[in-house]
């Protein structure tokens, strides 16, 4: 049984990743290109300033992969592999959730687990540390940023799981509806506390020292020694579009996982019900 879940999970994940890739290729790539163009322009302006100040600019290493490869093959492989990985984890979560999350039809559970994956793996961490296009983010803080992001992902997932557990515990006392609301509220409060405790990216030591306290690492206008702006800050519209499309792509990915897995799960349960020899033990929960 678990093998059939996992195979189907990997498959629907890859399908979701493929759809998200098509979306990314059409909508995200132009924004990524704009961000890279901004970065190149800014680097050139910085080089002029450095030269005027008598500094020698460091030359960047050669690109390992051309932009064409990155923007077509690389992002495709990345999105599909990510989708398959999420699908595999989704299938495990689904199999474990069966029979432990109250009275739910197989396909409703499929949609709820997908919603949980979307929230835990992406949307809740995004609220604190949103996706950034290239050109945003400093080399010196990559370690801190990755660590903080992963802390956000792990705590989001942990609190969602705890919320499900809490909801089941509260159900006999408060009923299904109120127990669900209470558990969701507790989860929101707990995650809110974690978000309040974790630092904003602009408040990281290296950033405060170099740029002062800002909420993010988004590039500010570049100024010459006289304080005149020689290159603008990162374009707000590119940033918004990139983030908006990033959320949309993940919504597509997780919706595809939930919607494709739902009928498959329903059928798997119907099959096992018809073959009593392989049927799992029914439980009264």
């Amino acid at each position: 049984m678990e093998r059939r879940f996992i195979v189907r999970g990997l498959l629907v994940g890859a399908i979701g990743g493929l759809l998200a890739f098509v979306f990314a290729r059409i909508f995200a790539e132009p924004q990524i290109q704009r961000a890279i163009d901004y970065e190149s322009g800014r680097d050139a302006a910085q080089a002029v300033l450095d030269k005027a100040a008598g500094l020698t600019a460091e030359t960047a290493g050669p690109d390992l992969f051309s932009r064409t490869i990155q923007a077509n093959v690389g992002i495709g492989v990345g999105m599909i592999a990510f989708g398959a990985a999420m699908g595999g984890l989704y299938a495990v979560a689904y199999a474990l959730a069966c029979g432990r999350t109250g009275k739910l039809r197989p396909r409703n559970l499929a949609l709820l687990v997908a919603l949980g994956g979307f929230l835990g793996f992406y949307l809740i961490p995004f609220i604190k540390y949103p996706a950034n296009p290239p050109a945003i983010g400093h080399e010196e803080t990559i370690r801190d940023r990755s660590g903080l992001y992963l802390v956000m992902v792990v705590s989001s997932i942990a609190f969602l799981v705890l919320a499900v557990w809490l909801g089941q515990r509260l159900k006999p006392r408060f009923g299904n509806w109120n127990a669900t609301l209470l558990a969701a509220l507790a989860c929101a409060v707990a995650i809110g506390i974690v978000m309040a405790l974790l630092p904003s990216l602009g408040h990281l030591h290296a950033n405060v020292e170099q740029f002062g306290r800002h909420p993010t690492e988004t590039p500010l206008p570049l100024k010459d020694p006289q304080g005149r702006i020689v290159y603008p800050g990162f374009p707000a519209d590119v940033l918004f579009n990139f983030r908006f499309y990033s959320v949309a792509a993940q919504a597509i990915l997780w919706a595809a996982i939930g919607l494709c897995f739902a009928p498959l799960a329903e059928r798997l349960f119907a099959e096992t019900a018809q073959a009593p020899g392989t049927a799992p033990e029914p439980v009264t929960a």
Partner: protein
């Protein structure tokens, strides 16, 4: 909830009694987390294959777009 009711109205039973499928579950979780790690984290904060940047550069756009921190 029992096996005799119609499948379409049935709620989900416990599929995995916990230990039975542990190997499959752990294998899948480990594999998927490794994929998650290599797409999103490796060759940024840490690096498994030394100082190379091949994976990072190859899936670079996906890494940004999927919400992972990058350069």
């Amino acid at each position: 909830m029992s096996m005799s009711t119609l499948p379409t109205t049935r709620t989900t039973p416990v599929v995995l009694p916990g230990t039975r499928a542990a190997l499959w579950l752990f294998g899948t979780v480990a594999l998927c987390l490794a994929a998650y790690y290599f797409i999103g984290v490796d060759q940024g904060a840490t690096s498994v294959f030394g100082n190379s940047m091949y994976i990072h550069e190859f899936v670079h756009d996906a890494r940004h777009f999927l919400g992972f921190p990058c350069h």
